[in-house]
Amino acid sequence: MTLMRHEDLRLITGTGKFTADWNLQNQCYAVFVRSPHAHARVTGINCEAAAATAKVLLVLTAADVTAARMQSVPSGPEIKGIDGAIIKKGTMPVLAIDRVRFVGQPVAVVIAETAGAAQDASELVEVQYEPLPAVASVEDALQSDAPQLHPGVPGNESLRFESGDLEAVDKAFSQSERTATLRIDSQRLYGAPLEPKAITVAHDAGRGITVVHTPTQGVLGMKAGLSSISGIPVEEFEIVSEDVGGSFGLRGGASAEHALLVLAARQLQRPVKWVATRSELFAGEWHGRGLTLEGSIAIDHDDKIAAIKFHDTVDLGAYNCFFGGFIGTNNLSVTMGGAYQVPALYMQSRLVLTNTAPVSAYRGAGRPDIAFGIERLIDHAATTFKLDPVEFRRKNFVPQNAFPYTTANGTVYDCGDFHSVLDKALSQAGYDTFEQRRAAAKQDGKIRGIGIGYYVEKSGAGGAPKDQVSCEFSADGTLTLHAVTGPSGQGHETAFAQIMGDGLGIDPLQIIYRAGSADQSLVGNGTGGSRSLYGTGSAFKNLIDEIINRALPHAARVLNANAEDITFSDGQFMVRNGAGGISLFALSKRLSEPQQHPGSQEHPLNCTAETVTGANYPNGCHIAEVEIDPETGVTDIIAYNAVDDLGNVISPELVRGQVHGGVVQGAGQAFSEAIVYDDNGQLLTGSFMDYAMPRAGTLLNVETDTFAVPTELNELGSKGVGESGCSGSLPCISNAVMNAFASVGAGPLSMPYTPARVWKHLQKHQ
């Protein structure tokens, strides 16, 4: 019985190793004290009782962090706004100094011999708070008399950003007779990887290395973050990250908790372990989305789009953290024209600080939101002006002969075939016969709707200049691959082994993948922006060539032929005249024998390769068909059809899995998930009891397929897949629900379309 993926055996037998599964000798345990207030002055912290408790080893507060000269949590890039203004930041201290700015912010940490003792003692830490008025929403934060979060950010506005040409857009709007505007909310979410955050840090004084066990998307980013906070050079960190229970953007960087465990482990000279509770993560881990887009569209007399503009407000939460600023600026604007030829584009975003948990990346990080914005706007315009949503899209698509296509705000889409993708999706979805199904549903008292979402997104993320990979052959013929990108469910071990196995003619089961091994000093990007397969995968493609080149002279020697007379295919080196051959696998084993290459310890085929590749533009058409029960407000996704252009596909199974997962995360946002704070900044959705995650049965029927237009921007011709599911599903589900509403005369509603909200909405329109 062969298993589907290399990683499966350990995961189905319970022998995987997630961070909390590590137990180091002599380890002690950390528990955090967190702010119960959304905004308060901290006037004093009394740790005496906690510190005096049995089994307590250490209590750290801001004073200790300052004494250790720790810096703030990374606050993201220095983004430029309107008129060259640089982003104004409220940076997050590792432990709150003088003031807390959101519920769940770490204030102190207690370390004890047992987790129970640390928990008990943490309840004895007395923090004196003087509550301050809080702003829990962007609207409140932008009021002229709003409480101010950070002295360096007047008006709570961190940045006002723009992209595109305002003048051209204004002109187009003034000349168009038909214009429409729609406000779309992409509500705040919690990404909730199923593995709660856990960290264990051990300091190896002998080697001078601090070993950090943590889930991560890439060890280099983690090391860089740890170093920037602690001032300890990157070389002195080692990251251990074996199995990672989902990431979705939340495992991208070093957090306050990481830094504190480093500090504690070095002070105590003992390993320190922390396993978060889900509740503390709901409050204290960063959130995603939190965007409001006001989109406007101008349409000329022959139904061509003349201009699109967006005014966005971006909720950053209480501090500028990690990618928060990047999402609301670059990631929203870069594909703001969607799949359409739009002569004039303009976006303005206001990045605002509020007394809520910081917001950063969650699957798609702005990409699903802008796809949602455009595609809702297209459908809204079609409904408003009685245009056929399919024909309206077709008429405005970037035509196939226009690639490479430069959008009005300067993004270059390298390739695509939007018409063909749309056609394939329409036929797969039985779009033509929908009205019959709608009529049949009506007979049953149900309201059906169908919706299209055509997304174009920019995949690619990460600041590393290139992706490097390396390999090690061993005597038994196994091949170990190394790279930086860390898996968290995507199947890296399987996909990379498949690429190398296909190229070298080696059984993929003989190939092992290791991410971020400490003894390999490789440069590369972590997992993010859907880039691992095509970035690191392309470097592996180059590694294949490098290995074959290196092996050739050895094959010539073994086969007693001239290198020029030898060809390589299907894993075999063959002499042209058919006089003999040897497989690369056999050759590599033979070369493991020391006498084959005297004087060198290293296997002669061990080598490295790299690639430099940036963005590409996956796109696709998703079509949802929904049915609403007006009696209960319950909406079912009756059918879901996706056709994605992901370029060349390496593993169709893995791709389908990625699309399913992304689609259901989108469906979660559409129907149930929402992080809600009350007006005072208290978190109302602090656990899975009140934050409704999608469950089995969210998708009743799903069909996913691909239509490949290979990109020339990387060696594999592949495009990113990880985020496409969210980018396709948010708009198509929403358009389907709005289509159902429109059929009974009801107008738009914002997400989440929970039964209660849908029911109320329908009642209003009866």
């Binding site: 589907m4 189905i12 319970g14 990887p193 229970g245 989902g246 799903v702």
Partner: protein, 166 residues
């Protein structure tokens, strides 16, 4: 400290536990059975599902002392020697797992589900897994895995019955 003993994966074990210790923590931290996971603190996620006296239970909802005398099976005890349980196989073959964090709980819940509903309807599958969250797969392939395991289990049972009647 209280001392409790139970049978875990066929072996009798005795451990000293704090009265407040949850069963899941004892399994993981004291017995080293880290295949059972903890994904929440409100009994919602199902990552901690094990079998207690033959039926599936969330081991985070139970104190270790309450399990005294019980027969417990965890994910580590599901395969017989080297032979995977059909549910384990089906999860892999149908690509019903990505990160694998929910998987042990999903598998244990599925084993129970198929005991009650050997020919499960889609509705029964969804109900049977209602207490288990997965953030990665979108559940589509998990549902397929349950169907496929069900049919494999039936085939095995039929084969065993045929053998027995020979």
């Amino acid at each position: 400290m209280e001392s409790v003993s139970f049978v875990v994966n066929g072996e009798r074990v005795a451990v000293d536990v704090e009265p407040r210790s949850l069963l899941v923590d004892v399994l993981r931290d004291q017995l080293g059975l880290t295949g059972t996971h903890v994904g929440c603190d409100t009994s919602q996620c199902g990552c901690c599902t094990v079998q207690i006296n033959g039926s599936a239970a969330k081991s985070c909802t139970m104190l270790a002392v309450q399990a005294s005398g019980a027969v417990i099976k965890t994910i580590e005890g599901l395969a017989e020697n080297e032979t995977l349980h059909p549910v384990q196989e089906a999860f892999s073959q149908c690509h019903g797992l990505q990160c694998g964090f929910c998987t042990p709980g999903m598998i244990m819940a599925t084993v129970e589900l198929l005991e009650h509903s050997p020919i499960p309807t889609v509705e029964e599958i969804r109900q049977g897994l209602a207490g288990n969250l997965c953030r990665c797969t979108g559940y589509v392939n998990i549902e397929k895995a349950v169907q496929s395991a069900a049919s494999n289990l039936r085939t095995m049972r039929d084969r065993d019955a045929a053998e027995a009647s020979k």
